[in-house]
Symmetry: none
């Protein structure tokens, strides 16, 4: 069993597995790795029982139902400015109404810590040749393990979260909510489709032989979202990342209102565009120069430098 950080019960219940209430007791603060002012997320290097942890603390968007509960005398206001009809206040709602979200990575590797540290970025233009020479060896050697994906595909974890499954080994996939979505706020709807095939690393591998798979994901993914959540296709963006954060083919489905940092034009490739480009030319994604943003401390960036494919 994985180590459970600080499973301290708050109420003196017996040992039943009801909702366990934990805390940050026992975590030693090391450093704020990054403080993202836009997403209002702090990335913290910490230690627990001598091992590294990465803590992502994120302010959450408002729940429209809770907003109403905040408009009472329990929410304290401290005036900071007043001008004509406009005034501003520091605002302290009741603790229980003002939750945040924490993602804990424990134990964390050096790569996890580097991934969440503040960094310089560069634009890389990756030709088809660059991919074979630089990126593919990097993916095979350095990329993080896909074990967590296989756990899901094997129904060893998160089986209860599956929204839809097509079990076909060639064109099938599992659709489930992204970790970043609370599954309540429909405007923030965000799911991922993980394909059952394990031989497709990314967009780069796709050609006309994969069209049935891609069209199946588009069609059944959108219709499952319509059926389960009532959100129609013209409100859902479906796209692939390049570079992806893990090299097992997957497709993102996000609500058009979700202002997602992963939807930048040098990372997100619309699934409908991918299908149309491959229909036009089977080898489109094997030959196309693909542009992406990369962190200066990323091994992939270093590999591009070492091979002389880019200049510093």
């Amino acid at each position: 069993m994985a180590v459970e950080p600080n499973a301290k019960k708050r109420k003196s219940d017996d040992n039943k597995h009801s909702t366990e209430i934990l805390s940050f007791a026992g975590f030693d603060f090391c450093k704020v790795l990054k403080n993202d002012l836009r997403s209002k997320t702090a990335f913290i290097h910490s230690q627990f029982e001598g091992k590294d942890a990465v803590i992502l603390m994120e302010k959450t968007a408002f729940d429209a139902n809770i907003v109403q509960e905040m408009l009472t005398e329990k929410t304290e206001l401290v005036e900071t400015l007043k001008n004509d009809v406009y005034s501003t206040y520091k605002t302290f709602p009741d603790k229980t109404l003002n939750g945040m979200k924490t993602t804990l990575i424990y134990p964390a590797t050096k790569q996890h810590i580097a991934k969440y540290s503040e960094q310089e970025f560069h634009i890389v233009q990756e030709s088809g040749e660059d991919y074979k020479k630089v990126t593919l060896p990097y993916v095979k050697n350095k990329a993080l393990s896909n074990q967590w994906v296989y756990n899901i595909l094997n129904k060893e974890t998160e089986a209860d979260r599956i929204v839809f499954e097509d079990t076909c080994p060639d064109s099938g996939f599992i659709l489930l909510p992204d970790m970043k979505w609370d599954r309540k706020d429909m405007d923030a709807l965000y799911l991922q489709a993980l394909v059952h095939r394990r031989d497709i690393l990314s967009l780069r591998d796709l050609d006309q032989s994969h069209l049935p798979l891609l069209k199946n994901i588009l069609e059944k993914g959108l219709s499952a979202i319509k059926e389960k959540y009532g959100i129609p296709a013209n409100k859902v963006r479906s796209y692939l990342h390049y570079q992806p954060s893990y090299y097992h083919l997957h497709v993102h489905f996000a609500h058009i209102k979700l202002d997602n940092p992963g939807f930048e034009a040098d990372r997100a490739h619309l699934l409908t565009d991918v299908i149309e480009n491959i229909e036009m030319k089977s080898l489109y994604y094997k030959e196309k120069t693909l542009v992406f943003k990369v962190r200066e401390d990323d091994h992939l960036y270093k590999a591009f430098l070492e091979h002389g494919c880019i200049q510093k």
Copy 2:
């Protein structure tokens, strides 16, 4: 003196004007006008003493100093997911550490309420045929005047802001800072290149005859930015919008660190991609389905509906 909403003192101080501590007592909730998930701001229509109020409640970014104080046993965690080394928690810090910001508009006019109300968006898939049938007539009839662009090209306005000019009537352009850039913060660098030719409405018009123009903008635009501001090409994103906000061909140049809402994958088209796609196929952008996001109250959206090219 303006009405002071609910000036209830929490401590029984005298009537001194020290920091007054107020609350939301006496505010009647009417409606959530908009819930912005990205900025984590709720816009609320409320009433106080029978008059309208607009309340903007915004989650604030983390203060790096306060983060450390949150890593104690006082911060409660409720586990919501666990998979391998990753786990997520609802997180409830001490109330005093977890302030938000409120902006109050009181009394508020109908215009204030409309300004902060939600708009619906839709994804439109525009085929080459749709463009000719719906979009082109719309652009010719309804789009805003380009007179302000011609004023710049004629040096009648903003001549002192020009960063670079290539005067060639076929492949020339004027490069100048975007109005949104303060010209001080280099991480927010943002310029636009306006072409001298007046016969190219947008990306849709481009074919191989425009390759010299496009390559000229890419090369000379990036080198002018390097020379004037010291920002190298691998830190600058160059792209076109579709739909653009005005129908006179122009190219955006923005710093890679600028978190620009105009760089979404269903609006921004990288200039290098545009060049490569046209080199591959001259009519690429005349035939390609182009995907864009449109507001429900936009005349273009209504035109698509009227022509039966999309369903509501």
